[in-house]
Subunit: 121 residues, 2 copies
């Protein structure tokens, strides 16, 4: 993972609104939610929500799919696992006995979403 990708992800989750959106969408897994549902659930004006959804999507944390006149958003959970792997690269380097299973944070929910470029229907 590129450093810029990582900082963009962290930046995305550093806003209370965006963190709420991401956590909400994690709860809705494969189903996801359309923008209007997110806005009313979290009580954020649509204009403002759109701004935050764009940031999350550009960071890769959300996948968006058009559904008639709705935009359906879903959380990209595998990206979070990549991020964790990036953070812990060379964790405790040279002292493996100190650093056993951090990286076993493996592939959960990889089946929730297909790769980001081709969201499920």
């Amino acid at each position: 993972m590129e450093k810029q990708t990582a900082t963009q992800i962290f930046e995305s989750l550093s806003s209370g609104i965006r963190l709420d959106v991401y956590r909400l969408l994690i709860r809705f897994g494969k189903t996801g939610l359309v923008a209007g549902e997110i806005a009313s659930t979290l009580n954020v004006p649509p204009t403002n929500l759109s701004f935050h959804l764009k940031a999350l999507t550009q960071a890769g944390l959300l996948a968006v799919e058009q559904e008639g006149r709705f935009q359906r958003y879903r959380a990209n959970i595998p990206l979070m696992l990549d991020l964790i792997a990036y953070l812990t690269e060379e964790c405790c380097s040279g002292r493996p006995e100190e650093c056993a299973d951090f990286r076993s944070a493996s592939s959960c929910c990889n089946d929730i979403l297909p790769p980001l470029s081709t969201p499920s229907t």
Copy 2:
């Protein structure tokens, strides 16, 4: 974990400099590094580094310990695991078959640092 704690952690890691600092300190595990070593390794002016170290420490990502006239910093890795758990609370709720082992991102490196309040000597 409180939402504000989580956003503070993400905010901390949304700066390239701070991300470099945290990753560097993860690599140095239990040993940690003193501020001057971090500054020269990453080529950041001490004044600026101090600003970023303070942010990381306030977020709980770093523990600091005075060592004569040096300040030794160490990464708080367990906090990252708490953060991951917070993110994935209720992940895919109601559909456990979709969400198996994300939370098995368990307790690596818990022995690197004692709880943040009492840094190792």
